[in-house]
């Protein structure tokens, strides 16, 4: 029976942060590592994340980005509504599609969209945006607790884990009912620091569930150099080195937007 797992998501081609996170998780003695999708986008050299996922036997669920790249669709299906947000999203999508090998695209196509996992006595549902829609944005400040309870009841699980929005958060909505957004490894979370985050889920011998957000301090300068060499937009590089989002901002609700600089 598993008692400690790592959940990571939103890699966005940040192979340097991924490697650092995987090493960190292994050091903590996890029973398994799960990735909640969106392997590509934003960062450089999308093919470099796949050997790492294989080496650490990471079990993935498919994000909207993976579905798009896997099937060679026209855009990332991120769900943005603002023209400027979509402009920048398209630049990173076109780059990622052009630089992902056919072999890896086949892997993306074949990933399951959800995984049911047992952790101690608890039933967990791992998905990308929400269990009902792969690219749904469940922000902390715009998601009521009774909506989360509705999802937990509908899918008959104790915990739902997602990523997609790019900002980690968690809420216990009832006794033995939790929602957690595990954060993303691909870019900082708009807080002015350069670290990225993954999530550790643990159950102790008394069946208490513990949710821990783990910061990963990686070589972001090297990532920035690689992004520059690949000709990716300066706006993306700025986010990596400053920790502030400079694109795809219109999708943020007021509370989350106010925490950022732009």
């Amino acid at each position: 029976m598993m008692s400690r797992i790592a959940c990571l998501g939103g890699i966005y081609s940040n192979h340097l942060a991924l490697e650092a996170a995987l090493q960190d998780a292994r050091k903590r003695g996890v029973d398994a590592i799960y990735c909640l999708g969106d392997l590509g986008g934003f960062g450089p050299h999308p093919d470099r994340v796949f050997p790492l996922l294989e080496e650490y036997q990471v079990q993935c669920v498919q994000g909207n980005y993976d579905d798009s790249i896997g099937h060679g669709l026209d855009d990332c299906q991120c769900g943005y509504t603002d023209p400027t947000d979509n402009y920048y999203a398209q630049i990173s999508y076109d780059y990622t599609l052009a630089n992902t090998s056919n072999h890896h695209r086949a892997i993306l196509r074949d990933m399951p969209t959800q995984r049911h996992v047992s952790l101690g006595p608890f039933r967990l549902l791992l998905c990308h945006g929400s269990p009902r829609q792969v690219n749904e944005f469940l922000w902390e400040s715009t998601t009521s607790s009774h909506f989360l309870q509705h999802l937990l009841d509908q899918y008959q699980v104790n915990l739902i884990a997602t990523t997609h929005t790019g900002i980690k958060w968690q809420r216990q909505v009832a006794d033995q009912s939790w929602f957690v957004n595990v954060g993303v490894l691909g870019r900082p979370e708009n807080d002015g620091t350069t670290v990225v985050w993954y999530t550790l889920l643990e159950v102790d011998s008394s069946s208490n569930l513990k949710i821990s957000f783990i910061p990963i301090d990686y070589d972001h300068q090297q990532l920035a150099q690689q992004m520059q060499a690949e000709g990716l937009p300066n706006e993306f590089i700025e986010t990596i080195v400053t920790g502030w989002w400079s694109t795809c901002l219109e999708i943020l609700p007021a509370k989350e937007r106010l925490r950022g600089r732009y």
Partner: protein
């Protein structure tokens, strides 16, 4: 008596889940008389009245078992309702709240209370401020003399109190001018110290006062059953929303004047499918997600899908990706 007339199938839209609960909190009472208002709100239009805090609370309580995700408040002008501030502070204990205002009647003491309530809540309080042009010359002919400056003053006040209001502008210009007009809006807003303006453009709805200002819907501007085949119905407000007025629960914020829109007295009584046979349904179908905040796009509207929706403004048809 048996009839030999064929039974015409109506285009029905099912409520998939009650994500958004709206409140017509000021009825149709407004301090302004905008020429494009789709429910003809004015200082004298009391066909719908205020909702009390007690009524709102009753529906907030009922909304828990429906798993409602977000709450929206509209009018009329919501801040004419003397209980608007406690209504919003109470709502923030249940979930995220958005209020649609014309920005012209906001008082400092209200904003002090609301800023404090939002700071103490895990949820966002969003203000959506209606301005229909980037200058007095473009706004005031629609919204009334002096309203541009008064709305701008209200916006400035909201920004000073630490809010990030969303400006909503009804598109009374050709779609092709959007980019240029958005730039002019941004310049105007930056000019009053709003450094990261959020702007949402809305289509006109050819009902209410707008029907007089321009024209109503043509008979051909209707959704047919066939048009819903392979269409992403989550783009339609009635697929995920309902609205409470002082008459009961209606299907959506746009159609409250239509008798068929009143579905029941409780949320439980109002979950039945709705026949999207009204002219305004056609606009909802064409543009998609016209009532929600940018942070809560309904459905899986990808740019491709949005492009398809845009294309159907010309052709009258859209497909899922």
């Amino acid at each position: 008596m048996p009839s030999s007339a064929p039974i015409l199938e109506e285009p029905l839209v099912r409520l998939s889940h009650l994500d958004h609960l709206w409140f017509q909190v000021a009825g149709t009472l407004c301090n302004l008389t905008c020429h494009h208002c789709f429910i003809s709100c004015s200082p004298k239009n009391d066909s719908f009245g205020f909702l009390s805090l007690t009524t709102v609370e009753r529906y907030l309580q009922e909304s828990i078992s429906h798993g409602v995700k977000e709450y929206y408040f509209t009018g009329g002008e919501p801040f004419l309702n003397p209980e608007m501030v406690p209504i919003l502070t109470t709502t923030l204990q249940y979930g995220p709240a958005t209020v649609l205002t014309n920005g012209t009647v906001l008082k400092d003491e209200w904003l002090t209370t609301l800023a404090e309530a939002e700071a103490n809540s895990v949820y966002s309080l969003e203000f959506r401020v209606s301005i229909d042009g980037y200058s007095p010359e473009t706004n005031d002919p629609i919204r009334g003399a002096g309203t541009f400056q008064r709305a701008l003053d209200g916006l400035q006040k909201l920004v000073q109190f630490g809010f990030l209001p969303i400006i909503t502008a009804t598109r009374t210009w050709p779609d092709s001018e959007d980019t240029q007009i958005l730039q002019q809006f941004t310049a105007t807003l930056e000019g009053i110290g709003y450094q990261r303006p959020r702007i949402k453009l809305l289509p006109t709805l050819q009902i209410g006062a707008e029907e007089t200002r321009t024209h109503g819907y043509r008979d051909s501007e209707r959704i047919s059953t066939e048009m819903l085949t392979d269409y992403d119905v989550s783009q339609l407000v009635c697929e995920h929303s309902r609205i409470v007025t002082d008459r009961g629960v209606h299907v959506c914020p746009i159609l409250i004047d239509a008798p068929a829109s009143l579905l029941g007295q409780s949320l439980k009584e109002s979950t039945q499918p709705f026949a999207v046979t009204h002219g305004a349904c056609y606009t909802c179908y064409q543009y998609g997600a016209i009532c929600t905040n940018p942070s809560s796009p309904s459905g899986s509207a990808s740019p491709r899908q949005q492009a398809a929706t845009a294309a159907l403004r010309e052709t009258g048809r859209s497909k899922k990706p």
